[in-house]
Assembly symmetry: C2
Homo-oligomer: 199 residues x 2
Amino acid sequence: MKIAVLCSGNGSNLQAIIDGVKSGYIPAEIALVVSDRKDAYALVRAREAGVYRLALSIGDFKSREDFDREIMKNLKARGVDLVVLAGYMRLLSPEFIREYSDRVINIHPALLPSFKGTHAIRDALKYGVKVTGVTVHFVDEELDNGPVILQKAVDIREDDNEETLLERVHKEEHKLYPEAIKLFAEGKLKIDGRRVARQ
Amino acid sequence: MKIAVLCSGNGSNLQAIIDGVKSGYIPAEIALVVSDRKDAYALVRAREAGVYRLALSIGDFKSREDFDREIMKNLKARGVDLVVLAGYMRLLSPEFIREYSDRVINIHPALLPSFKGTHAIRDALKYGVKVTGVTVHFVDEELDNGPVILQKAVDIREDDNEETLLERVHKEEHKLYPEAIKLFAEGKLKIDGRRVARQ
Protein backbone atom coordinates (compact mmCIF):
# COMPACT_ATOMS: atom_id res chain seq x y z
CA MET A 1 0.00 0.00 0.00
CA LYS A 2 1.46 3.29 -1.12
CA ILE A 3 -0.01 6.58 -0.06
CA ALA A 4 0.49 10.16 -1.17
CA VAL A 5 -0.20 13.03 1.22
CA LEU A 6 -1.22 16.39 -0.26
CA CYS A 7 -0.54 19.43 1.92
CA SER A 8 -0.50 23.20 1.79
CA GLY A 9 0.69 24.26 5.21
CA ASN A 10 2.01 23.16 8.55
CA GLY A 11 1.37 19.49 7.98
CA SER A 12 0.54 18.41 11.52
CA ASN A 13 -1.73 15.67 10.16
CA LEU A 14 1.11 14.63 7.83
CA GLN A 15 3.29 14.30 10.93
CA ALA A 16 0.71 12.07 12.61
CA ILE A 17 0.64 9.90 9.49
CA ILE A 18 4.47 9.77 9.29
CA ASP A 19 4.56 8.71 12.94
CA GLY A 20 1.83 6.11 12.35
CA VAL A 21 3.75 4.60 9.45
CA LYS A 22 7.06 4.63 11.32
CA SER A 23 5.62 2.88 14.36
CA GLY A 24 4.04 0.20 12.16
CA TYR A 25 0.49 1.21 13.16
CA ILE A 26 -0.32 2.08 9.53
CA PRO A 27 0.71 -0.81 7.25
CA ALA A 28 1.66 1.40 4.33
CA GLU A 29 4.46 3.43 2.85
CA ILE A 30 4.34 7.17 2.22
CA ALA A 31 5.42 7.22 -1.42
CA LEU A 32 5.11 10.95 -1.88
CA VAL A 33 4.28 14.23 -0.20
CA VAL A 34 2.91 16.95 -2.49
CA SER A 35 2.64 20.62 -1.58
CA ASP A 36 1.14 23.40 -3.64
CA ARG A 37 3.22 25.86 -1.65
CA LYS A 38 6.99 25.69 -1.77
CA ASP A 39 7.34 27.18 1.72
CA ALA A 40 4.92 24.78 3.42
CA TYR A 41 6.35 23.41 6.65
CA ALA A 42 4.91 20.05 5.62
CA LEU A 43 7.83 19.77 3.17
CA VAL A 44 10.31 20.12 6.03
CA ARG A 45 8.53 17.33 7.91
CA ALA A 46 8.65 15.15 4.79
CA ARG A 47 12.37 15.82 4.27
CA GLU A 48 13.14 15.00 7.89
CA ALA A 49 11.23 11.75 7.51
CA GLY A 50 13.12 10.93 4.34
CA VAL A 51 9.97 11.01 2.22
CA TYR A 52 9.97 11.91 -1.47
CA ARG A 53 8.66 15.46 -1.97
CA LEU A 54 7.05 17.35 -4.79
CA ALA A 55 6.41 21.11 -4.58
CA LEU A 56 4.40 22.73 -7.33
CA SER A 57 3.13 26.27 -7.89
CA ILE A 58 -0.18 26.71 -9.63
CA GLY A 59 1.33 29.81 -11.29
CA ASP A 60 3.68 27.59 -13.28
CA PHE A 61 0.75 25.87 -15.02
CA LYS A 62 -1.69 26.94 -17.69
CA SER A 63 -4.72 25.65 -15.84
CA ARG A 64 -5.88 23.86 -12.72
CA GLU A 65 -6.37 20.76 -14.88
CA ASP A 66 -2.74 20.85 -16.03
CA PHE A 67 -1.62 21.33 -12.45
CA ASP A 68 -3.63 18.30 -11.32
CA ARG A 69 -2.35 16.24 -14.28
CA GLU A 70 1.22 16.89 -13.20
CA ILE A 71 0.34 15.61 -9.72
CA MET A 72 -1.42 12.54 -11.18
CA LYS A 73 1.61 11.81 -13.36
CA ASN A 74 3.74 11.71 -10.22
CA LEU A 75 1.20 9.62 -8.28
CA LYS A 76 1.20 7.06 -11.07
CA ALA A 77 4.98 7.05 -11.39
CA ARG A 78 5.22 6.18 -7.72
CA GLY A 79 2.39 3.64 -7.74
CA VAL A 80 0.14 5.46 -5.28
CA ASP A 81 -2.96 3.56 -4.06
CA LEU A 82 -4.44 6.16 -1.73
CA VAL A 83 -4.42 9.97 -1.83
CA VAL A 84 -4.65 11.63 1.58
CA LEU A 85 -5.58 15.31 1.77
CA ALA A 86 -4.01 16.88 4.83
CA GLY A 87 -4.70 20.59 4.93
CA TYR A 88 -4.55 20.76 1.14
CA MET A 89 -6.25 24.06 0.31
CA ARG A 90 -7.00 23.38 -3.33
CA LEU A 91 -10.05 21.70 -4.86
CA LEU A 92 -9.20 18.64 -6.95
CA SER A 93 -10.34 18.66 -10.57
CA PRO A 94 -13.19 16.33 -11.58
CA GLU A 95 -10.67 14.39 -13.69
CA PHE A 96 -8.49 13.76 -10.63
CA ILE A 97 -11.46 12.63 -8.54
CA ARG A 98 -12.68 10.29 -11.29
CA GLU A 99 -9.19 8.83 -11.74
CA TYR A 100 -8.82 8.21 -7.99
CA SER A 101 -12.45 7.42 -7.32
CA ASP A 102 -12.91 5.98 -3.79
CA ARG A 103 -9.18 6.43 -3.22
CA VAL A 104 -9.02 10.04 -2.06
CA ILE A 105 -9.76 10.84 1.57
CA ASN A 106 -10.03 14.08 3.49
CA ILE A 107 -10.31 15.19 7.10
CA HIS A 108 -12.71 17.94 8.12
CA PRO A 109 -12.80 19.74 11.50
CA ALA A 110 -16.54 19.29 12.12
CA LEU A 111 -19.15 16.56 12.28
CA LEU A 112 -20.31 16.62 8.67
CA PRO A 113 -22.83 17.43 7.29
CA SER A 114 -22.64 20.31 9.79
CA PHE A 115 -20.25 23.18 9.07
CA LYS A 116 -18.91 22.41 5.63
CA GLY A 117 -16.34 24.74 4.12
CA THR A 118 -13.14 26.37 5.25
CA HIS A 119 -14.30 27.99 8.51
CA ALA A 120 -15.75 24.98 10.30
CA ILE A 121 -14.39 25.86 13.74
CA ARG A 122 -15.48 29.49 13.58
CA ASP A 123 -18.88 28.53 12.15
CA ALA A 124 -19.48 26.00 14.92
CA LEU A 125 -18.70 28.60 17.60
CA LYS A 126 -20.91 31.17 15.87
CA TYR A 127 -23.81 28.74 15.62
CA GLY A 128 -23.44 27.99 19.30
CA VAL A 129 -23.34 24.20 19.11
CA LYS A 130 -22.19 22.38 22.23
CA VAL A 131 -20.69 19.43 20.34
CA THR A 132 -18.58 19.49 17.21
CA GLY A 133 -15.91 17.06 16.05
CA VAL A 134 -13.86 15.55 13.28
CA THR A 135 -14.84 13.69 10.11
CA VAL A 136 -12.69 11.53 7.82
CA HIS A 137 -14.47 10.95 4.52
CA PHE A 138 -13.98 9.86 0.95
CA VAL A 139 -13.81 12.78 -1.46
CA ASP A 140 -16.36 13.12 -4.23
CA GLU A 141 -17.26 15.92 -6.63
CA GLU A 142 -19.07 17.98 -4.00
CA LEU A 143 -17.33 19.90 -1.23
CA ASP A 144 -17.12 17.99 2.08
CA ASN A 145 -19.78 15.59 0.91
CA GLY A 146 -18.39 12.08 0.30
CA PRO A 147 -19.08 8.91 2.33
CA VAL A 148 -18.03 9.16 5.99
CA ILE A 149 -15.30 6.78 7.19
CA LEU A 150 -14.89 7.84 10.81
CA GLN A 151 -16.19 10.59 13.05
CA LYS A 152 -15.29 11.66 16.56
CA ALA A 153 -17.22 14.13 18.69
CA VAL A 154 -15.50 16.98 20.53
CA ASP A 155 -17.39 18.82 23.27
CA ILE A 156 -17.31 22.61 23.12
CA ARG A 157 -16.55 24.22 26.45
CA GLU A 158 -18.08 27.30 27.96
CA ASP A 159 -14.86 29.31 27.62
CA ASP A 160 -13.69 27.99 24.24
CA ASN A 161 -12.44 30.33 21.56
CA GLU A 162 -11.26 29.45 18.05
CA GLU A 163 -7.77 28.72 19.26
CA THR A 164 -8.59 26.45 22.18
CA LEU A 165 -11.25 24.55 20.24
CA LEU A 166 -8.98 24.13 17.22
CA GLU A 167 -6.31 22.67 19.47
CA ARG A 168 -8.63 19.99 20.85
CA VAL A 169 -10.04 19.25 17.39
CA HIS A 170 -6.49 18.84 16.03
CA LYS A 171 -5.66 16.42 18.82
CA GLU A 172 -8.55 14.21 17.72
CA GLU A 173 -7.60 14.59 14.05
CA HIS A 174 -4.12 13.26 14.78
CA LYS A 175 -5.66 10.06 16.16
CA LEU A 176 -8.56 9.67 13.74
CA TYR A 177 -6.70 10.16 10.46
CA PRO A 178 -4.08 7.45 11.10
CA GLU A 179 -6.89 5.13 12.22
CA ALA A 180 -8.82 5.70 8.98
CA ILE A 181 -5.72 5.19 6.83
CA LYS A 182 -4.90 2.02 8.74
CA LEU A 183 -8.41 0.67 8.04
CA PHE A 184 -8.10 1.55 4.35
CA ALA A 185 -4.63 -0.01 4.10
CA GLU A 186 -5.91 -3.20 5.71
CA GLY A 187 -8.71 -3.39 3.15
CA LYS A 188 -11.35 -3.12 5.86
CA LEU A 189 -13.46 -0.30 4.38
CA LYS A 190 -16.31 -1.11 2.05
CA ILE A 191 -18.28 1.70 0.42
CA ASP A 192 -21.96 0.91 -0.01
CA GLY A 193 -23.69 3.95 -1.50
CA ARG A 194 -23.23 6.68 1.08
CA ARG A 195 -22.34 4.32 3.90
CA VAL A 196 -18.89 3.03 4.68
CA ALA A 197 -18.92 -0.35 6.39
CA ARG A 198 -16.02 -1.89 8.28
CA GLN A 199 -15.26 -5.46 7.42
CA MET B 1 -41.07 27.79 38.30
CA LYS B 2 -44.04 26.31 36.52
CA ILE B 3 -43.65 24.32 33.37
CA ALA B 4 -46.04 23.04 30.74
CA VAL B 5 -45.19 19.97 28.68
CA LEU B 6 -46.73 19.69 25.20
CA CYS B 7 -47.00 16.15 23.82
CA SER B 8 -48.57 14.20 20.98
CA GLY B 9 -47.64 10.61 21.65
CA ASN B 10 -46.01 8.19 24.01
CA GLY B 11 -44.51 10.84 26.25
CA SER B 12 -41.33 9.08 27.30
CA ASN B 13 -39.59 12.43 27.65
CA LEU B 14 -42.55 13.64 29.70
CA GLN B 15 -41.97 10.66 31.98
CA ALA B 16 -38.30 11.59 32.40
CA ILE B 17 -39.38 15.12 33.34
CA ILE B 18 -42.05 13.87 35.77
CA ASP B 19 -39.41 11.66 37.40
CA GLY B 20 -36.93 14.54 37.52
CA VAL B 21 -39.47 16.80 39.23
CA LYS B 22 -40.56 14.09 41.68
CA SER B 23 -36.99 13.33 42.75
CA GLY B 24 -36.27 17.02 43.26
CA TYR B 25 -33.62 17.09 40.53
CA ILE B 26 -35.67 19.66 38.59
CA PRO B 27 -36.69 22.53 40.92
CA ALA B 28 -40.01 23.15 39.21
CA GLU B 29 -43.63 22.11 39.13
CA ILE B 30 -45.39 20.63 36.12
CA ALA B 31 -48.42 22.90 35.98
CA LEU B 32 -49.93 21.37 32.90
CA VAL B 33 -49.59 18.66 30.27
CA VAL B 34 -51.14 19.45 26.88
CA SER B 35 -51.81 16.91 24.16
CA ASP B 36 -53.16 17.54 20.68
CA ARG B 37 -54.26 13.92 20.58
CA LYS B 38 -56.82 12.65 23.02
CA ASP B 39 -55.46 9.10 22.89
CA ALA B 40 -51.83 10.04 23.53
CA TYR B 41 -50.25 7.80 26.14
CA ALA B 42 -48.61 10.93 27.54
CA LEU B 43 -52.02 11.79 29.06
CA VAL B 44 -52.04 8.50 30.95
CA ARG B 45 -48.58 9.26 32.34
CA ALA B 46 -49.77 12.74 33.38
CA ARG B 47 -52.87 11.33 35.08
CA GLU B 48 -50.82 8.75 36.95
CA ALA B 49 -48.50 11.51 38.14
CA GLY B 50 -51.46 13.61 39.25
CA VAL B 51 -50.68 16.37 36.78
CA TYR B 52 -53.33 18.65 35.30
CA ARG B 53 -54.13 17.63 31.72
CA LEU B 54 -55.53 19.36 28.68
CA ALA B 55 -56.41 17.43 25.50
CA LEU B 56 -57.41 19.40 22.44
CA SER B 57 -58.27 18.41 18.87
CA ILE B 58 -57.27 20.78 16.10
CA GLY B 59 -60.52 19.75 14.37
CA ASP B 60 -62.52 21.54 17.06
CA PHE B 61 -60.97 24.89 16.15
CA LYS B 62 -61.39 27.27 13.25
CA SER B 63 -57.67 27.75 12.73
CA ARG B 64 -54.23 26.81 14.00
CA GLU B 65 -54.06 30.28 15.55
CA ASP B 66 -57.28 29.71 17.52
CA PHE B 67 -55.99 26.33 18.63
CA ASP B 68 -52.75 27.89 19.90
CA ARG B 69 -54.67 30.72 21.60
CA GLU B 70 -56.66 28.17 23.56
CA ILE B 71 -53.40 26.59 24.74
CA MET B 72 -51.93 30.01 25.62
CA LYS B 73 -55.07 30.87 27.61
CA ASN B 74 -54.51 27.75 29.68
CA LEU B 75 -50.78 28.39 30.09
CA LYS B 76 -51.53 31.86 31.40
CA ALA B 77 -54.30 30.64 33.70
CA ARG B 78 -51.82 28.26 35.28
CA GLY B 79 -48.94 30.74 35.41
CA VAL B 80 -46.58 28.79 33.17
CA ASP B 81 -42.98 30.09 32.92
CA LEU B 82 -41.51 27.51 30.55
CA VAL B 83 -43.06 25.54 27.69
CA VAL B 84 -41.42 22.18 27.04
CA LEU B 85 -42.08 20.44 23.72
CA ALA B 86 -41.83 16.68 24.17
CA GLY B 87 -42.72 14.88 20.99
CA TYR B 88 -45.27 17.57 20.13
CA MET B 89 -45.93 17.08 16.42
CA ARG B 90 -47.43 20.47 15.69
CA LEU B 91 -45.66 23.71 14.71
CA LEU B 92 -46.36 26.58 17.09
CA SER B 93 -47.87 29.72 15.59
CA PRO B 94 -45.66 32.84 15.34
CA GLU B 95 -47.94 34.49 17.91
CA PHE B 96 -47.26 31.68 20.41
CA ILE B 97 -43.50 31.88 19.85
CA ARG B 98 -43.50 35.67 20.26
CA GLU B 99 -45.59 35.44 23.43
CA TYR B 100 -43.26 32.80 24.94
CA SER B 101 -40.06 34.13 23.39
CA ASP B 102 -36.99 32.44 24.94
CA ARG B 103 -39.33 30.33 27.07
CA VAL B 104 -40.11 27.45 24.69
CA ILE B 105 -37.64 24.58 24.42
CA ASN B 106 -37.51 21.52 22.23
CA ILE B 107 -35.49 18.32 22.00
CA HIS B 108 -34.28 17.01 18.65
CA PRO B 109 -32.81 13.54 17.96
CA ALA B 110 -29.71 14.76 16.10
CA LEU B 111 -26.78 17.11 16.55
CA LEU B 112 -28.28 20.22 15.01
CA PRO B 113 -27.74 21.82 12.53
CA SER B 114 -27.42 18.32 11.02
CA PHE B 115 -30.61 16.41 10.20
CA LYS B 116 -33.37 18.88 10.90
CA GLY B 117 -36.96 17.76 10.42
CA THR B 118 -39.06 14.81 11.44
CA HIS B 119 -36.85 11.94 10.20
CA ALA B 120 -33.59 12.77 11.93
CA ILE B 121 -32.69 9.19 12.86
CA ARG B 122 -33.45 7.80 9.42
CA ASP B 123 -31.68 10.69 7.70
CA ALA B 124 -28.54 10.20 9.82
CA LEU B 125 -28.42 6.49 8.93
CA LYS B 126 -29.00 7.28 5.26
CA TYR B 127 -26.25 9.88 5.21
CA GLY B 128 -23.91 7.37 6.78
CA VAL B 129 -22.63 9.50 9.67
CA LYS B 130 -20.77 7.69 12.43
CA VAL B 131 -21.82 10.11 15.16
CA THR B 132 -25.24 11.62 15.75
CA GLY B 133 -26.83 12.76 18.99
CA VAL B 134 -29.37 14.84 20.83
CA THR B 135 -29.96 18.61 20.94
CA VAL B 136 -32.02 20.66 23.40
CA HIS B 137 -32.65 24.13 22.02
CA PHE B 138 -34.80 27.21 22.38
CA VAL B 139 -37.55 27.39 19.78
CA ASP B 140 -37.66 30.29 17.34
CA GLU B 141 -39.64 30.93 14.16
CA GLU B 142 -37.58 28.55 12.05
CA LEU B 143 -37.76 24.76 12.30
CA ASP B 144 -35.09 23.22 14.56
CA ASN B 145 -33.12 26.42 14.45
CA GLY B 146 -33.07 28.21 17.83
CA PRO B 147 -30.11 28.66 20.21
CA VAL B 148 -28.63 25.37 21.45
CA ILE B 149 -28.82 24.69 25.19
CA LEU B 150 -27.24 21.25 25.44
CA GLN B 151 -26.01 18.59 23.04
CA LYS B 152 -24.84 15.03 23.55
CA ALA B 153 -23.16 12.84 20.96
CA VAL B 154 -24.29 9.28 20.28
CA ASP B 155 -22.00 6.96 18.31
CA ILE B 156 -23.61 5.02 15.47
CA ARG B 157 -22.66 1.37 15.48
CA GLU B 158 -21.87 -0.82 12.51
CA ASP B 159 -25.05 -2.90 12.95
CA ASP B 160 -27.44 -0.10 13.95
CA ASN B 161 -30.87 0.17 12.40
CA GLU B 162 -33.52 2.83 13.05
CA GLU B 163 -34.87 0.96 16.04
CA THR B 164 -31.59 0.30 17.86
CA LEU B 165 -30.27 3.79 17.20
CA LEU B 166 -33.53 5.42 18.29
CA GLU B 167 -33.38 3.48 21.53
CA ARG B 168 -29.89 4.77 22.39
CA VAL B 169 -30.82 8.31 21.33
CA HIS B 170 -33.92 8.18 23.55
CA LYS B 171 -31.82 7.06 26.48
CA GLU B 172 -29.68 10.18 26.11
CA GLU B 173 -32.75 12.37 25.63
CA HIS B 174 -34.16 11.20 28.95
CA LYS B 175 -31.02 12.46 30.68
CA LEU B 176 -30.39 15.62 28.65
CA TYR B 177 -33.91 17.10 28.75
CA PRO B 178 -34.24 17.04 32.56
CA GLU B 179 -30.73 18.55 32.78
CA ALA B 180 -31.66 21.40 30.45
CA ILE B 181 -34.91 22.09 32.31
CA LYS B 182 -33.07 22.05 35.62
CA LEU B 183 -30.59 24.65 34.28
CA PHE B 184 -33.45 26.84 33.02
CA ALA B 185 -35.35 26.52 36.30
CA GLU B 186 -32.25 27.51 38.25
CA GLY B 187 -31.89 30.63 36.09
CA LYS B 188 -28.51 29.46 34.82
CA LEU B 189 -29.10 29.87 31.08
CA LYS B 190 -28.29 33.16 29.40
CA ILE B 191 -29.07 33.64 25.72
CA ASP B 192 -26.53 35.82 23.91
CA GLY B 193 -27.47 35.96 20.22
CA ARG B 194 -27.22 32.39 19.02
CA ARG B 195 -25.15 31.20 21.96
CA VAL B 196 -26.50 29.97 25.24
CA ALA B 197 -24.10 30.51 28.14
CA ARG B 198 -24.31 28.80 31.50
CA GLN B 199 -24.00 31.08 34.48
